[in-house]
């Protein structure tokens, strides 16, 4: 049992090395952004240490600089980060049933898009230590990147920063596309999601909707739609 936990931890650690690098690049730009808005490196680093959410933190930084009310900051975080509720629910379903409360509380510390992405693709049942290993590798990249970005903003040449900016999206693609090889219907799911996301960004009436709300709306609507027209077989959950 202990051995199995240690194996899961190490696998999570290994799988998250690319996430750590991607996080470093993204949080570096977030750190630059934070210092440009008047936050100290300590404040920016603490925010990254306690939140691990790119869109939420970017919104938070802007609202702090704007001296917005505590309540509106709380609400904005709830809306932008509501997608994590869906992700945690998906993980809870996949998690080993005898997982302790302590492990459940600990792995809740970082349910990010990327860590969710790799843990959702593990074979069920999921060992929570996989997530602990993932955050052990990914979190330092996120926090140190933020601090370095805030302290020395312009060390990286702009052309390097520009090239690094696609890393996170390429990782999303590398999580979403491989399962298509075994389940061709997922190609329909992915294409429809991207098409609808694009429509939201170009249709005038919809383009004012914030990023967080857009992700929630499309995720709920399309996941429900596909769940109705193509409910999964038992074995799909193992994918």
């Amino acid at each position: 049992m202990q051995l199995e936990n240690r194996k899961s931890f190490i696998k999570g650690l290994k799988d998250s090395v690319p996430i750590m690098l991607g996080y470093f690049a993204v949080s570096f730009t977030l750190g630059i952004n934070a210092s440009a808005h008047g936050l100290s490196w300590l404040e920016a680093g603490l925010m990254s240490f306690l939140n691990h959410t790119s869109a939420g933190q970017a919104a938070g930084i802007a609202m702090i600089a704007n001296d917005d009310s505590y309540l509106s900051v709380a609400l904005s975080q709830a809306v932008i980060n509501l997608r994590y509720l869906l992700m945690s629910a998906a993980l809870a379903l996949k998690l080993k049933k005898d997982t302790s409360l302590g492990l459940r509380l600990s792995m809740s510390y970082v349910v990010s898009d990327e860590i969710f992405g790799i843990s959702a693709l593990q074979k069920a049942p999921l060992n929570g230590w996989y997530n602990i290993g993932s955050m052990a590798a990914a979190s330092p990249g996120w926090v140190l990147g933020t601090i370095l970005g805030a302290v020395m903003g312009n060390v990286l040449r702009p052309d390097i920063t520009m090239a690094l900016s696609v890393a996170l999206y390429s990782m999303f693609i590398a999580v979403v596309f491989p399962p298509i090889r075994h389940n061709a219907f997922l190609a329909v799911v992915v294409s429809a999601s991207m098409a609808l996301s694009y429509a939201f960004s170009v249709i005038k009436a919809l383009s004012g909707i914030s990023y967080g709300i857009k992700v929630i709306l499309i995720t709920i609507a399309l996941s429900a739609f596909f769940a109705i027209i193509r409910p999964i077989e038992e074995q799909d959950n193992e994918a």
């Binding site: 690319p18 690098l21 409360l101 809740s108």
Partner: protein, 100 residues
Amino acid sequence: MKHNVYVYIIIMALVTYLIRMLPLVVLRKELKSRFLRSFLYYVPFVSLSVMTFPQILYATGSPALGALAMALSIGLSLAGVGLDIVALCSCLAVYLASLL
């Protein structure tokens, strides 16, 4: 600033933690509903796709470079190349293409 930055940060952290923690602590039993299980199966594919496109086109400031990164990443992913190599090749391709 009249509000305290650290209070802001703590509030953000608490809200975000609650959102992540509640389902993991509350959802203990096997979900009976086939609809809910199917729904949750599709959530990662839909949400990650929505977060990728069209944002990847705007990430570099040049939609052509973004499209290049996307096409290359999809090709490599379908060929079975690992996550880290996909991300690395994509960044490298964007860098080299930007020199042209």
